[in-house]
């Protein structure tokens, strides 16, 4: 992966709508929401989210980008997404979810009502939904643990319930703002068909932040630590039914001695993350403004079998940077330019164990670690560049156009077997948006197009040992095929909010349609190891269609 592969092109940012506020504090609940954000990059929303994760920003008046004084929101959202043809089996081919989210900020005053004692803030979200058609993956949040996933060969629909709570406190000492934040996300997911999966996933994180205003320019820094734990249980409900459960380690390889035929299995995953973020914002009331964001995440993941063996580990480093420049050329015309790039690299480590006799009298064996290997490497780059032009038409109304480009690259390799998979895509996205903002109400609508073009792809996975069935089609070819598609996508958003005396109710609707086909060269000509009824893509080039729609009702107060 080379950084100079980033291609500059035009990009149009959607103008920030106040109704975006309901997306800032709500976590996405499906791959469709996450992909929509990755494909149709919204620089304003991205900067708002970046500020919101800086705990010190809550007590820093210059860190606010949203002009609304109502900082509390309660929202209810329903999402639905569906794929036809190619899809990523580890995530499934459909999703439906509903959630309720709330965010609040509370200025603390002393007994004399004048003394500023800081700001308390918090968010809460409860959601539930279903991810349909998951194949060859028995776990949740696979992006954290890939390629070290455990799986059955049946697949199916996974229902889930998710809770998120964030609480923090920001305060000011002299010219410095400080903030602390704690966050908990917990999910329980389950499958009601055999073999029945039950996963319990939790994320707990703590963060410290500080901010310093230089004039009305703000520099913010935060650092934190997150622990993730996932407990997977999978069992056959049907009496006496057994099947093979695979302990995979990439490119369709799996640990043969641990991929046993059993009534069920259980596994634990741990991921420890340290993360830092740096944001710089210039005075938002000036004609020219700038926002810079730089983020780093370092993950250490390890798996644990029910025998307490830690078979696999991985280390992942992610770097994310974003720049947004806004300039008001005149009373009626403004331009914004944005750039964002995120780079991720993961290295996998496989541990080697041996069994040994600890008690001859009772014939008891135990195990010990005797070595480790580093063979797996995966890296990805996602970059956006864009320009956004905006005209005010009348006192309260505006329209705009824009254009952007996206460069996406992904590379997966295994050093031991010289396996290599690579995808390189390029995309352009023109857009148009408009709306009005009056005292009593505001309306915003936008339409964006995206054209994805496959630049170069390669799939070099040849399993030498043909005596064993391998899962390279299921685990290696499917993501390669998914990212080897030329497609067009359109995203339409509309939101409306009324400002009443005490609160502002609103509605936001989003829909996106994606249509395309897989590259002709992206075909799998070998026979599939472990043919099963699990949801899966076709070996030959197929459609690449997706539909996603979302509606949110919200109240700001």
């Amino acid at each position: 992966m080379k950084a100079n592969a980033i291609i500059l092109s035009l990009y149009v940012c959607g103008a920030a709508a106040e109704s975006n506020y309901c997306d800032i504090y709500r976590m996405p609940m499906s791959q469709y929401e996450e992909r929509k954000e990755a494909t149709f990059y919204d620089a304003e929303l991205d900067i708002e989210k970046s500020i919101s994760i800086q705990p010190a920003s809550y007590d820093c008046p210059f860190a606010k980008r949203d002009s609304q004084r109502r900082r509390n929101i309660v929202s209810a959202t329903y999402n639905k997404g569906e794929s036809t043809g190619d899809f990523l089996p580890v995530y499934g081919n459909g999703a439906r979810d509903g959630s309720i989210a709330a965010h609040g900020e509370y200025k603390l005053r002393g007994k004399d009502k004048e003394q500023d004692k800081g700001t308390m803030f918090g968010s809460v979200q409860y959601g539930r939904g279903i991810h349909n058609g998951i194949g060859w993956n028995a776990m949740r949040f696979p992006e954290l643990y890939l390629p070290y996933i455990a799986t059955d060969s049946c697949g199916g629909d996974t229902k889930y319930e998710i809770y998120e709570v964030v609480g923090g406190y920001a305060f000011t000492v002299g010219k410095w703002n400080f903030g602390i934040e704690a966050k908990f996300v917990g999910e329980q997911a389950y499958r009601m068909t055999d073999p029945r999966i039950l996963t319990n996933t939790s994320f707990i994180s703590a963060k410290l932040g500080m901010a310093r205003a230089f004039g009305k320019n703000v520099l913010m820094f935060s650092g934190g630590y997150e622990r993730n734990k996932q407990y997977d249980k999978i069992q056959y409900w049907r009496p006496a039914q057994q099947d093979r459960f695979f302990i995979a380690y990439g490119f369709g390889l799996y640990d043969i001695s641990h991929s046993s035929i059993a009534f069920g299995y259980s596994r634990m995953y741990y991921n420890y993350r340290k993360h830092f973020s740096l944001d710089f914002l210039t005075d938002s009331r000036k004609r020219n403004t700038m926002s810079i964001s730089l983020k780093y995440k370092g993950d250490k993941m390890q798996t644990e079998e029910s025998s307490i063996k830690s078979l696999y580990k991985s280390k992942t480093n992610s770097l994310n940077e974003a720049v947004l420049l806004n300039s008001k050329f005149s009373e009626h015309f403004s331009i914004s330019i944005c750039e964002k790039a995120s780079y991720t690299c993961r290295r996998g480590i496989e541990n080697i164990f041996e069994e040994y006799l600890v008690d001859e009298g009772n014939n008891i064996y135990d195990f010990r670690k005797i070595g480790s290997e580093q063979n797996y490497i995966c890296s990805a780059l996602n970059a956006h560049y864009g320009v956004n032009l905006r005209w005010s038409v009348g006192v309260f109304s505006f329209i705009g156009i824009g254009g952007g480009a996206r460069n996406f690259m992904r590379r997966e390799e295994n050093k031991e077997f010289d396996f290599l998979i690579s995808n390189r895509n390029f995309g352009v996205s023109p857009s148009i948006f408009g709306g009005y903002r009056k005292k009593r109400s505001e309306f915003h609508a936008s339409a964006r197009l995206y054209r994805n073009i496959v630049r170069k792809n390669s799939y070099d996975v040849r399993i030498e040992n043909t005596n064993l069935n391998h899962l390279d089609f299921q685990h290696a070819f499917t993501p390669y095929a998914y990212y080897s598609a030329n497609y067009n996508s359109v995203l339409a958003e509309a939101s409306y909010m009324i400002n009443l005396h005490r609160f502002s109710p609103g509605i936001k609707a989003v829909t996106s349609i994606e249509k395309g086909t897989r590259e002709k060269s992206a075909r799998y000509d070998d026979s599939i190891g472990f043919a099963s009824s699990a949801p899966m893509i076709k070996t030959l080039p197929d459609r690449h269609n997706e539909v996603f729609s979302s509606v949110s009702l919200f109240v700001r107060f």
Binding site: V124, F184, R191, M192, L198, D366
Partner: protein, 933 residues
């Protein structure tokens, strides 16, 4: 010791009562009125307590209360009412004016808010409404986390959960012996009876319906899942020696006080991984002088394992509580009436597997309870202060319906259908069929209690309180019992045991009566020293049993005595000591087990051609009822010390409990010899016809058959130390710390001899001996834990944040016995018992001898200690109040972080205990302010 304690109790009780009156001295009345601080209106039916001397009263409709007979002095009066923060005020007697007490509306904004259990009397912990709300419970089980010894466990409702008391783990007898009383009326399910092979505990080895057994808590006490905490105002928990007023218990006492009085409209919604709960409730006045009525409705949907459609549990409860206070001359009358309706439903919903199997499991439980209580308070009678009559009746409809697929992996099974002893023709069952049955219980429980209180102020420093009365309990089951729709399609055809269940309505009612005297003699030797001596005695007798039952002729006397001495200098010290005996009576299921029908194959001629099959069995009927069954007696002793220095408190209790008469279905072996037709005679041709006995050689066949009898054999010995340390609140960080925990050493064993039958066949004959062993097998558990509660309460932010750390410092388990490999006796096929001689031992050591099989050798690893390393879990809980106490949002995450190190278990395998967090949210709304009540 028990006899001495009984005599001492009786002597002290009698002497004190006899002598006290002659010394009676001048007394004064303490009067007060309770108001709401918010609107200055009276608060009706607030509870008023003087804990130090154990006096209790309730306000009338206008918030007035009084204690008519107090000696001169200063008293700490504690006032609590639903929706208000508890207040303690000091009042001097005699008073110049009636005391006016203003209660603050409960809010996190109040400095004095307490969210932990409170110690109110001798080893009694009180968990009030604030603490209950803060725990965010689903059922009463969740509340037990506030007890020092309890380890955190996930809130589940899919299966029956045993209540444990001062022990490592849990056992059926301790759970059965834990009395649960609601507003003075005991809750019981002793009248439940489920006698069906595969379901009840006296099923012999073979198949059982785990789906049913796991969900029903037969003979394990109250199903706490069915008790909603939303109707509860406060809970008192006594694990030590209970008052003599309370009986039919052996482990401890959970006393529930319902929500009552006036309260705002409250809505509560809770969601966590296993439970979804909704509650609505309100208390209001019924006219100006008509008392108050509190109504509440709660719905719970719960599931243990969300993947299992059979785990879905739903509960709907409704409660109405009516109070009325009337003045009748110089006396007052407090009337209360409570109706509680509980409906629970465990119903299998359709999923992939249930659809394919076409099975059904449905458990419907409906309980309607009516509790009436009238309490006369006499202000001018010197010999009696209070007379209370409590009556409770509840009727339960409990039916489990099952449509079960029976699948034989080894082909068709044979099935005896005889109902009388002797030889009968049998049938062969298909390899796959459906069995339909239902278990029907309709117990009607009646409880009546009449008791009186006499408080005699002997002089300024001596107070005598006497509580005496009698109760009557009757339980009759009107249900059909176990009913199999088609006797030829049994649900559990896996062995030769079969019952022909009797309907439950044919079983006589269980009736018991008891009389008790409980005294409390309080001596204030000076302002700073208090001595409390509380002897009591209870006598219980069962009625309605046939005369051949031991319990029909013998009553039980239970002496109980508690004593405490407190003295105050710079610090306040209290020393407590107590001894008591408690008896739990057997349940209807234990008293009336079904006869066991054992069917033995005489001729089992199975051929592939169905018309030529022939099955003949001989049936033998065994009586399994144990007429010598006694109550399970638990003897308890404890000693405790409490230290209070300002806001610092230390409390430690050392206890010892021993029960050797716990109920248990114990496996026994009975020999049986009969004629069997096993081998075809030489030259016999049975092709094309039904084989007959004559076609076979007759052999005399002997075997040992097994069955389970109820015995008083379970042994449980509990000892340990419980401690509680409350540190003063660190005001700069608004944080209070409580450390509590316990060291428990628990032995579970059996007090009777053990039987062992080597399941071997020698020369086509069954092994001829059963060994009888006196090895005293025990499973010994030790655990030492500390629970650290760090409560950060910031009233100005209306926020409470709790960090709960649970450390298990020491956790071991070990199997122990006398390490003796040889039986003390053996039984032969004639039923004769033979003592073991040295010669027999020599034969058992010879591996070629037939007696070798009676030698029981355990590998050393069986005795290995399984010692777990130090483990820790961290739970967090946060509650934030919004909109001036109107909205409360709570969040909790348990096992958020844990330390469960890898260790080498007793089995010498590297292992680790995995934990997964559980979490949830709760929203509660108080929709109207106190002004509008």
């Amino acid at each position: 010791m028990p006899r001495i304690a009984f005599i001492i109790s009786l002597l002290i009780t009698g002497h004190i009562i006899g002598c006290a009156k002659s010394f009676a001295t001048e007394s004064y009345e303490l009067k007060g009125v309770v108001y709401s601080a918010e609107d200055k209106l009276a608060v009706p039916f607030a509870f008023v307590d003087i804990n130090e001397i154990g006096l209790h009263s309730v306000c009338d409709n206008d918030g007035r209360f009084s204690f008519p007979k107090l000696a001169e002095g200063e008293y700490i009066v504690s006032i609590s009412s639903l929706g208000y923060s508890q207040k303690n005020v000091s009042i001097k007697v005699p008073q110049e004016h009636t005391a006016k007490i203003f209660l603050n509306t409960e809010s996190i904004a109040l400095e004095e808010l307490q969210v932990m259990a409170k110690r109110t009397a001798i080893d009694k912990l009180t968990i009030d409404r604030t603490a209950i709300e803060y725990i965010q419970p689903t059922s009463i089980n969740d509340v037990f986390l506030l007890l020092p010894e309890n380890l955190y466990s996930k809130s589940t409702s899919g299966g029956f959960t045993q209540i444990s008391s001062r022990q490592v783990g849990s056992d059926a007898n301790s759970s059965l012996g834990m009395a649960v009383s609601a507003d003075g009326a005991p809750q019981t399910n002793d009248g439940m009876r489920t006698q069906l092979i595969g379901i009840t505990e006296n099923s012999s080895d073979g198949g059982s319906d785990g789906e049913v057994a796991r969900r029903t808590g037969m003979n394990k006490g109250i199903d706490t899942r069915s008790i909603s905490t939303d109707h509860i105002g406060s809970i008192d928990i006594v694990r030590g020696i209970s008052s003599a007023k309370h009986g039919n218990l052996s482990s401890g006492m959970i006393s529930i006080k319902s929500k009552q009085g006036v309260s705002p409209l409250t809505l509560r919604a809770k969601a966590d991984l296993n439970n979804k709960l909704f509650y609505i409730g309100k208390g209001f006045r019924v006219g100006e002088k008509g008392g108050t009525l509190h109504l509440g409705l709660d719905y719970l949907h719960s599931v243990d394992d969300i993947r299992d459609e059979m785990d879905k549990y739903q509960r709907l409860t409704f409660q109405s509580f009516y109070n009325l206070h009337k003045s009748v001359g110089h006396s007052t009358l407090d009337l209360s009436a409570k109706i509680n309706q509980t409906i629970t439903l465990n119903k299998m919903r359709e999923d992939e597997l249930t659809k394919e199997y076409n099975e059904l499991y449905e458990a419907n439980y409906k309980k309607t309870a009516l509790t009436l209580k009238s309490e006369f308070t006499f202000k001018q009678l010197s010999w009696i202060d209070k007379f209370t009559f409590t009556a409770n009746q509840d009727f339960v409809f409990d039916r489990i319906t099952r449509h079960k697929m029976v699948l034989s992996s080894s082909g068709p099974r044979s099935m005896p259908i005889a109902t009388e002893e002797g030889e009968h023709e049998g049938i062969y069952l298909p390899a796959k069929y459906y069995s339909d049955y239902y278990l029907d219980n309709k117990p009607f429980n009646l409880f009546m209690l009449a008791d009186a209180e006499s408080n005699i102020q002997i002089n300024k420093r001596n107070l005598l309180k006497v509580n005496y009365g009698a109760d009557y309990r009757r339980t009759k089951n009107f249900g059909d019992g176990a009913v199999i729709e088609d006797a030829t399609r049994p649900p559990f055809p896996y062995d030769n045991t079969y019952m022909r269940p009797r309907p439950n309505y044919e079983i006589p009612a269980i009736i018991s009566g008891a009389a008790f005297v409980q005294t409390e003699y309080i001596v204030n030797t000076s302002e700073k020293q208090i001595l409390k001596l509380s002897p009591g005695v209870r006598f219980t007798k069962m009625f309605g049993l046939s005369s051949d039952y031991y319990l029909s002729k013998h009553g039980m006397t239970e002496p109980r005595i508690n004593c405490s001495y407190s003295f105050t200098g710079k610090a306040r010290h209290s020393i407590r000591i107590g001894y008591g005996e408690e008896n739990k009576l057997p349940t209807m299921d234990y008293l009336y087990p079904e006869k066991v029908y054992k069917d033995y194959y005489v001729l089992n001629a199975y051929t592939n051609e169905e018309q030529f099959r022939h099955l003949i069995t001989t049936t033998k009927i065994y009586e399994t009822a144990n007429k010598n069954l006694k109550a399970n007696k638990n003897s308890k002793a404890e000693i405790g010390y409490d230290l209070t220095i300002k806001d610092f408190m230390l409390s430690a209790t050392l206890f010892y409990e021993k029960s050797t008469t716990g109920f248990e279905y114990m496996k026994i072996y009975v020999p049986f010899t009969y004629d069997r037709y096993l081998y075809l005679k030489e030259g016999a041709d049975i092709s094309g016809r039904i084989p007959q006995k004559d076609d076979y050689e007759k052999v005399e066949y002997s075997l040992f058959t097994t069955m389970s009898n109820v015995e008083n054999s379970k042994k449980t010995v509990k000892k340990g130390v419980e401690y509680r340390i409350i540190l003063p609140k660190a005001k700069p960080i608004n944080t209070g710390v409580e450390i509590n925990g316990a060291y428990y050493h628990t032995r579970y064993g059996t007090s009777l001899e053990q039987y062992y039958y080597p399941d071997v066949t020698i020369a086509d004959k069954r092994y001829p001996y059963v060994g009888v062993y006196d090895i005293d097998p025990e499973n010994v558990y030790c655990r030492f834990n500390s629970n650290i509660w760090i409560n950060t309460h910031i009233p100005s932010y209306r926020l409470i944040f709790t960090n709960f750390f649970q450390f298990v410092w020491h956790n071991t388990s070990q199997y122990e016995d006398r390490h003796w490999k040889y039986p003390k006796e053996y039984i032969d096929f004639k039923g004769a018992r033979h003592s073991i001689s040295q010669k027999d031992i020599a034969r058992m050591d010879d591996n070629t001898d037939i007696m070798y099989y009676l030698k029981k050798s355990n590998l050393p690893i069986k005795y290995a200690i399984d010692s777990k390393p130090i483990s820790m879990i961290w739970n967090v809980k946060a509650t934030k109040e919004f909109a001036s106490s109107m909205v409360r949002l709570s969040f909790y995450a348990n096992k958020l972080l844990d330390i469960s190190p890898v260790y080498v278990s007793g089995g010498r395998k590297t292992t680790r205990e995995w934990t997964a967090p559980d979490f949830g949210l709760e929203l509660s709304l108080n929709l109207n302010s106190n002004k509008k009540r």
